[in-house]
């Protein structure tokens, strides 16, 4: 009896091991390229993309493979820091990455991305000049804009009426019903914009006044949250939420009768995510071809229709679904864009801001 049980267990273990071996062997086929393949792959059979989650529809990738025969591998990350860490390791095998504005500057400084050969890009003229030649990459030698968005306020119109100013986030009437992003630069941006200053202000006296404002505001704030703000607003736990337009726009589309999104009249922040090719990319030619491909108006419109973020491609606009193009939370009007600022690297001032931020959060 016992012996039978033991045999059964041993048999099961063997089965499990065989199953694992099977899984492993098929994993190897579809997985990363072993070192031996390096020479062969050079001519271009592969493209490894590392990109933000939900930033590239599968159909767009499939179409590229259909046209070029290039096999595309696609991994996702959740923060700019994760991308930086992978590129710094020197052994990450990616050919195309999508860093945000401030990280782009760091990647260029550390020589982790390579200059783009623009003579090979036939659709450059499609890009909106307002998103080109930014401080983080003058002349766009290394990067080109992919998708962009804003930071503003999502709010419950049935509770707070119409909001058009950051002042709402300092209004004692909304005590305990306010959510702020858990991000030092975004939160200081609110205070600085309310004072009529730049988000990239470096004057310690002005920053001190902004910190005082935010310390007083803390009594009104229910929570500081950068991950789940749209859900918290939609659930009715707060009435006003500072946040990024992408998630808030989705919440508004889900509850149009109740929620709204606005970039306040004082102006908010704008962020731009850019395509770039890592310095050590083994399939740089394929990456360049892909960059050119996503600048085609039809392809670009399919990306925007699929991911609900705004692109910087002008001819694509004619092909974007009207409900997305007309959504002011996704495509703000020109005046709003003109009022928004990019967050820039502040150098030594960052230390001062971090100290104030710790004081605010811990008081």
């Amino acid at each position: 009896m016992n012996r039978v049980a033991v045999h059964r267990i041993l048999y099961l273990c063997t089965l499990l091991a065989a199953f694992a071996a099977m899984l492993l062997s098929c994993g190897k086929e579809g997985g990363s390229a072993p070192a031996g393949e390096a020479a062969k792959a050079k001519s271009g059979g592969e493209l490894n993309i590392y990109i933000w989650s939900a930033y590239l529809p599968q159909e767009v990738i499939d179409e590229f493979t259909r046209r070029t025969g290039v096999e595309v591998h696609y991994d996702v990350y959740d923060s700019n820091e994760a991308l930086l860490e992978k590129l710094q390791s020197g052994v990450a095998d990616y050919d195309l990455v999508v860093p945000s504005d401030y990280l782009t500057r760091i990647l260029i400084g550390e020589k982790l991305i390579q200059p783009l050969d623009k003579s090979k890009l036939s659709h450059l003229g499609n890009l909106d000049p307002r998103f080109l030649d930014k401080p983080y990459d003058r002349g766009n030698a290394y990067t080109l804009p992919y998708l962009w968005g804003t930071t503003g306020i999502g709010y419950d119109k049935t509770k707070v009426g119409t909001v058009d100013s950051w002042a709402a986030l300092f209004d004692p009437r909304h005590k305990g019903r306010i959510l702020m992003l858990d991000d030092v630069r975004e939160v200081f941006g609110v205070a600085l914009r309310s004072m009529g200053r730049s988000i990239n202000e470096r004057d310690p006296a002005v920053l001190g006044r902004a910190a005082e404002m935010l310390k007083k505001q803390k009594a009104l704030v229910a929570t500081y949250n950068s991950g789940d703000f749209a859900n918290i607003l939609a659930a009715g736990d707060v009435d006003l939420a500072q946040g990024y337009n992408g998630q808030l726009a989705e919440a508004v589309q889900e509850h149009p009768e109740r929620l709204a999104y606005v970039v306040p009249k004082e102006g908010g922040t704008i962020w731009i995510d850019n395509v770039a090719i890592p310095a050590k990319a083994r399939h740089a030619a394929n990456a360049l071809a892909f960059i050119d491909y996503v600048m085609e108006p039809e392809v670009n419109a399919r990306i925007v229709n699929g991911v609900h973020y705004a692109s910087a491609n002008l001819p694509a606009r004619k092909l974007i679904k009207p409900e997305i193009l007309g959504d002011r939370a996704i495509f703000p009007d020109d005046a709003t864009i003109a009022r928004c600022e990019l967050i820039e690297d502040l150098g030594d001032t960052t230390t001062l801001l971090d100290r104030y931020w710790t004081e605010i959060k811990s008081q």
């Binding site: 694992a20 997985g31 070192a35 959740d78 095998d93 659930a235």
Partner: protein, 276 residues
């Protein structure tokens, strides 16, 4: 055991009521979030916090979401491989430590606890640096190597504990009765330590399949696992799709544990042998 019960008898019923209430509170604390997660996987709305209606849509979406499916496949490949490799290697380490005296035995024993004690962030950073120096391209291979590296200790520790409670005279008796070293191991030692081996394997499988920190450091092309995938979806908000995939994983884990417990139940007869 019986001594205790006798002493407790006067206020036994009251104690029992309190203990029952306490147990329920603990169960509620542990399982309420999971229950909510499962319930919301059937929520019609895109937001995860408001109930709008019942639907199976998210499960259908899930079957079409190639990224999530690929991540599930990667996680299963990594966890299964890690479990097989660490169970074999870990058991051997435990046996060597329990049966033989050799140079560096004390050091090996101490080093066994390191991966369990050292913060995962440190392990992850160290492994990434190591792979960088060794010029190993990041991918599914490096993820498996990393998981094996920090999981081997779990098996070794669990099996070692099982071996410590083992009566050596049973093996000696087998030898007396004419069993060779291999026969004695296969027919006496292995059946006796099998509950420990299975427990170690299950532990490793669960640790490996939900590891985020170490994996995030060493993952590369084509090796996004499910925890990495779910975490990266935070930027665009968690959809009920994530709830759906979690529910399916939960189901798989429950089945796995049920199977393991049945196996352990069969072991009951054998541990009887051990006690007599």
């Amino acid at each position: 055991m019986t001594d205790h019960q006798r002493r407790l008898r006067p206020s036994f019923s009251r104690q029992r009521a309190l203990l029952t209430a306490h147990s329920w509170a603990v169960y509620l604390f542990l399982y309420a979030p999971i229950a909510i997660l499962v319930v919301y996987s059937f929520n019609e709305g895109r937001q995860t916090a408001i109930w709008t209606g019942f639907t199976f849509d998210w499960y259908a979406h899930l079957l079409e979401n190639e990224l999530i499916l690929r991540a599930v496949k990667n996680s299963l490949v990594v966890a299964t491989t890690t479990t097989v490799v660490t169970t074999l290697a870990g058991t051997m380490v435990a046996l060597a430590l329990a049966r033989f005296r050799f140079l560096g035995r004390a050091a090996t024993q101490a080093a066994l606890y390191l991966p369990v004690i050292v913060p995962e962030v440190v392990i992850g950073a160290a492994l990434l640096t190591f792979f960088g120096v060794a010029r190993l391209r990041l991918g599914l291979g490096t993820v498996v190597v990393a998981h094996v590296a920090f999981c081997i200790s779990y098996v070794a520790i669990v099996v070692r504990a099982r071996l410590a409670g083992l009566d050596r005279s049973l093996e000696e008796a087998a030898a007396d009765l004419g069993a060779g070293a291999w026969d004695a191991f296969r027919r006496v030692t292995l059946p006796l330590i099998l509950p420990g081996v299975v427990a170690g394997a299950l532990l490793v499988f669960t640790v490996s399949i939900d590891d985020y920190v170490v994996t995030s450091f060493v993952a590369g092309v084509g090796s996004t696992t499910l925890p990495l995938q779910i975490y990266s979806m935070l930027k665009v908000g968690v959809t009920p799709e994530v709830n759906a995939v979690s529910t399916l994983l939960l189901l798989a884990t429950v089945v796995l544990i049920a199977v393991a417990q049945r196996l352990q139940g069969r072991q009951g007869g054998l541990s009887g042998v051990e006690e007599t």
